[in-house]
C-alpha cells in the first residue's frame, strides 16, 4: 500500500528513479566512465583545463583528467559516505534513545542532557575539530559527522520509546517476567524502527552535503580523490576561468541531495497516517 501511495506522488517516483540511477552510476562507475583511468589520477597534463566538449563532457581539470569521469567516480564515494554516516549515527543514537526513553528517570536525564550538549554545539565546528584531531581523511570526516549527528536519532528514538513504555503490551511483558533488557531489545527497539528509517532516508541527502562540506574545507577526502566537495574546492581557484571544474560536481551534489530529500519527503507523507487520508475524513 505504501508503494501505491508513493506512486501517486509523481515527485517521489521521479526522485526514486534518480536515486536508482545514481546507485547504478556508483556501482558501474568503472564501466560507465569514458576515461576510467581518471580514478587513478593519471595526469595528462597536456589536456589540462579544457572546456566542456564532445570528448570531455564536463571538461578537464588541473591534471588533465576528464571531469565527467571524475564526477561519476565521485558518485560512488559520496553515496558510500552518506550511507556510512547515517548508519553510524543510527547505530549510536537509536539504542541510546531507546534506553533513555524506556528507562526514564536519572538514566534518561543523563542521556538527554548529554544529547542536549552535543546539539547545542555548533555541529560544523565540532565536526571540524574532530576531523582535525583525527587527521583529515574521508573516513575520519565520516566519523566526525556521525559524532555530531547521533543526538538527533537519540531524541527521535527516545520520544517514541517513552510513549511505547506506557502501552499495555509492555506491562504484559513485565508481568510475564521479561527483563527490562529483553523488553527493550525485543519489543521497544523494533517498534521504534519506522520513524528511524524514515528519518535516516531523509538524512542521507544532508549527510552527503555535510561530507562534501568537510571535504571542501580540506578535512575530508584528500587530493587527488575524485570527491565532489574536494573538486569544488580545487575548482574554486580557477572558478573564473575554468568554471566547469567547480560547477558540475556541485550540480551532482545538489541533484543527489535533492533526490534523497524528495524521496524522504514523499516517504514521510506516505507513512504519516493522518496525512495519508487526503480526501474524505
Amino acid at each position: 500500500m505504501t508503494l501505491h501511495i508513493l506512486r501517486k506522488n509523481p515527485l517521489s517516483f521521479i526522485s526514486l528513479i534518480i536515486i536508482l540511477f545514481l546507485v547504478f552510476l556508483a556501482v558501474f562507475a568503472s564501466w560507465l566512465a569514458p576515461y576510467p583511468d581518471a580514478y587513478q589520477g593519471t595526469p595528462h597534463v597536456e589536456d589540462k583545463y579544457q572546456p566542456p566538449s564532445l570528448t570531455h563532457l564536463f571538461g578537464t581539470e588541473y591534471l588533465g583528467r576528464d571531469v565527467f569521469s571524475l564526477v561519476i567516480f565521485g558518485t560512488r564515494l559520496s553515496l558510500t559516505a552518506g550511507l556510512m554516516i547515517v548508519a553510524l549515527s543510527v547505530v549510536i543514537g537509536w539504542p541510546l534513545g531507546v534506553i533513555a526513553g524506556y528507562s526514564g528517570g536519572k538514566i534518561d536525564d543523563l542521556i538527554m542532557r548529554t544529547t542536549d550538549m552535543f546539539l547545542a554545539f555548533p555541529s560544523l565546528v565540532l565536526a571540524l575539530v574532530i576531523a582535525f584531531v583525527l587527521g583529515p581523511s574521508l573516513i575520519n570526516s565520516m566519523i566526525a559527522i556521525s559524532v555530531t549527528w547521533w543526538p538527533w536519532y537519540t531524541r527521535l528514538a527516545r520520544a517514541d520509546a517513552a510513549s511505547l513504555k506506557e502501552r499495555t503490551f509492555v506491562e504484559a511483558s513485565k508481568a510475564i517476567g521479561l527483563s527490562d533488557r529483553s523488553i527493550m531489545v525485543r519489543h521497544i527497539l523494533p517498534n521504534t524502527m519506522a520513524p528511524i528509517i524514515v528519518q535516516s532516508t531523509m538524512d542521507l541527502g544532508t549527510a552527503i552535503l555535510a561530507e562534501a562540506g568537510l571535504s571542501f574545507l580540506g578535512l575530508g577526502a584528500q587530493p587527488p580523490t575524485p570527491e565532489w566537495g574536494l573538486m569544488i574546492s580545487a575548482g574554486r581557484a580557477v572558478a573564473f576561468s575554468a568554471w566547469w571544474y567547480a560547477t558540475f560536481p556541485g550540480v551532482f551534489i545538489f541533484l543527489t541531495a535533492m533526490a534523497f530529500n524528495l524521496f524522504g519527503d514523499g516517504l514521510r507523507e506516505a507513512l504519516d497516517p493522518r496525512l495519508r487520508r487526503i480526501r474524505g475524513e
Partner: protein, 322 residues
C-alpha cells in the same frame, strides 16, 4: 400548539473520497418543535453528526449537500448566504461537540474565548461582554466564574471544559442547541450533572435541543421525541416513551433489545447481526434489509418511506407500513 422550530426535509449529503462517492445522508426528514428535546440516535457512522453539521452548514470540505430543505422558522437555511449563516451560528443556533479538550483553543483563556463570541454576536463594550461571560459561566454552574475565566482550557477538568462549551453556546440565548455526544468524553457522574443542568436551562429558557447520542439511556432520561437513524436515513421517529415501549422498526427493536437490563436472566445479549452497509454502494431497497430478520421480497426492491403510523409516530419499513 407549539410552533415548529426546525424542519429538515429530504436532506441528502454526498462525500467525495478516494474510493468513490459516499452517500452519507439519503433523505433525512424530521422536525423539532420549540422548547422540545429531540434525541437523534444511531450507531457510529449512521450520519447523525453530518445531519447536525448540515443544519449549521459546516459540512467538511469534501462534502456536498445535494438536496433538501432545512427550514428554521420557515426560512430555508440552505438558501442563506455564508454571512447570514455565520450570524446564526452561536447566535440563534449553537452547536457543541463531543470532546471539549480539543474543541477549545489552547492559547487563549476560556474567558477570552467566551468574550470573543459574545462580542461578535451582541455588539457590546468590553466590560459588558465580560459581565455577560460571568453570567454565562454562572448559568452552567461553574464555581468561581471570575477565577475560571482566567484559566486556560488545559487547566480545567473535562467536566468544566464541557460546561464552558455550553456556556459559550448559550451565551447569546439561542433558540436551539445542537449537542453532539456532549457527555461521551466525561465520566458518568459528571454526565448526570451536566444533563440535569441542561434540562433546567431548557425549561427556563424554552430552549430546543437536538441531542445526538448513541446512548439510549440518556435518551430515555431527557428526550421528548426520539429519531432513530440508520445508514443515513431516519427509520423511526416519535414520542420517546412510545418508541421505547413499542418500537416499530426492526432496527430499533434490535437496539433496544441489546441494552442489558438487570431484570432479565439471559446470559447473552442479543445482537443485530451484520454491520453497517457500504455507503458508496448502497444496498438496493431498504438499507437495513441485509441484516433484518423479517425481510421480505419488497424490502430488497423498494426503499421504504417514512410514513405516519399513528399520531406523531413514523416508521420507514415495509412491514410496518404494509
Amino acid at each position: 400548539m407549539t410552533k415548529s422550530l426546525l424542519s429538515v426535509q429530504d436532506l441528502r449529503v454526498d462525500f467525495d473520497t478516494y474510493d468513490g462517492v459516499v452517500k452519507a445522508l439519503d433523505g433525512v426528514t424530521f422536525r423539532i418543535l420549540e422548547g422540545e428535546i429531540f434525541g437523534l440516535v444511531g450507531e457510529t457512522g449512521c450520519g447523525k453528526t453530518i445531519t447536525a453539521l448540515s443544519i449549521i452548514r459546516l459540512v467538511p470540505e469534501n462534502g456536498r449537500i445535494t438536496q433538501g430543505r432545512i427550514l428554521f422558522r420557515a426560512e430555508d437555511l440552505l438558501q442563506k448566504t455564508e454571512e447570514e449563516m455565520r450570524k446564526l451560528r452561536g447566535g440563534k443556533i449553537s452547536m457543541i461537540f463531543q470532546d471539549p479538550s480539543v474543541s477549545l483553543n489552547p492559547v487563549f483563556t476560556v474567558g477570552e474565548q467566551t468574550t470573543h463570541i459574545i462580542s461578535v454576536h451582541q455588539n457590546l463594550e468590553r466590560d459588558d461582554a465580560v459581565r455577560k461571560t460571568i453570567e454565562a459561566f454562572e448559568l452552567v454552574a461553574l464555581s468561581d466564574p471570575e477565577k475560571t475565566m482566567k484559566q486556560y482550557p488545559h487547566e480545567l477538568s473535562g467536566g468544566m471544559q464541557q460546561r464552558v462549551m455550553i456556556a459559550m453556546a448559550l451565551s447569546s440565548d439561542p433558540d436551539m442547541l445542537i449537542a453532539d455526544e456532549p457527555t461521551s468524553s466525561v465520566d458518568v457522574t459528571i454526565q448526570a450533572q451536566l444533563l440535569k443542568r441542561l434540562m433546567q436551562i431548557k425549561s427556563t429558557r424554552n430552549l430546543a435541543i437536538l441531542l445526538i447520542t448513541h446512548n439510549m439511556g440518556i435518551v430515555a432520561e431527557t428526550c421528548d421525541k426520539v429519531g432513530v437513524m440508520y445508514a443515513g436515513n431516519i427509520v423511526e421517529m416519535g414520542p420517546m416513551r412510545e418508541v421505547l415501549k413499542n418500537p416499530l422498526h426492526p432496527y430499533t427493536q434490535g437496539l433496544l433489545a441489546a441494552i442489558p437490563k438487570p431484570e432479565t436472566r439471559r446470559t447473552r445479549l442479543p445482537l443485530v447481526k451484520g454491520s453497517i452497509p457500504d455507503l458508496i454502494n448502497r444496498p438496493q431497497g431498504c438499507a437495513f434489509h441485509p441484516r433484518c430478520p423479517y425481510a421480505i421480497d419488497v424490502c430488497q426492491a423498494e426503499k421504504p418511506v417514512l410514513l405516519e403510523n399513528g399520531p406523531g409516530r413514523y416508521a420507514a419499513c415495509h412491514l410496518v407500513n404494509r
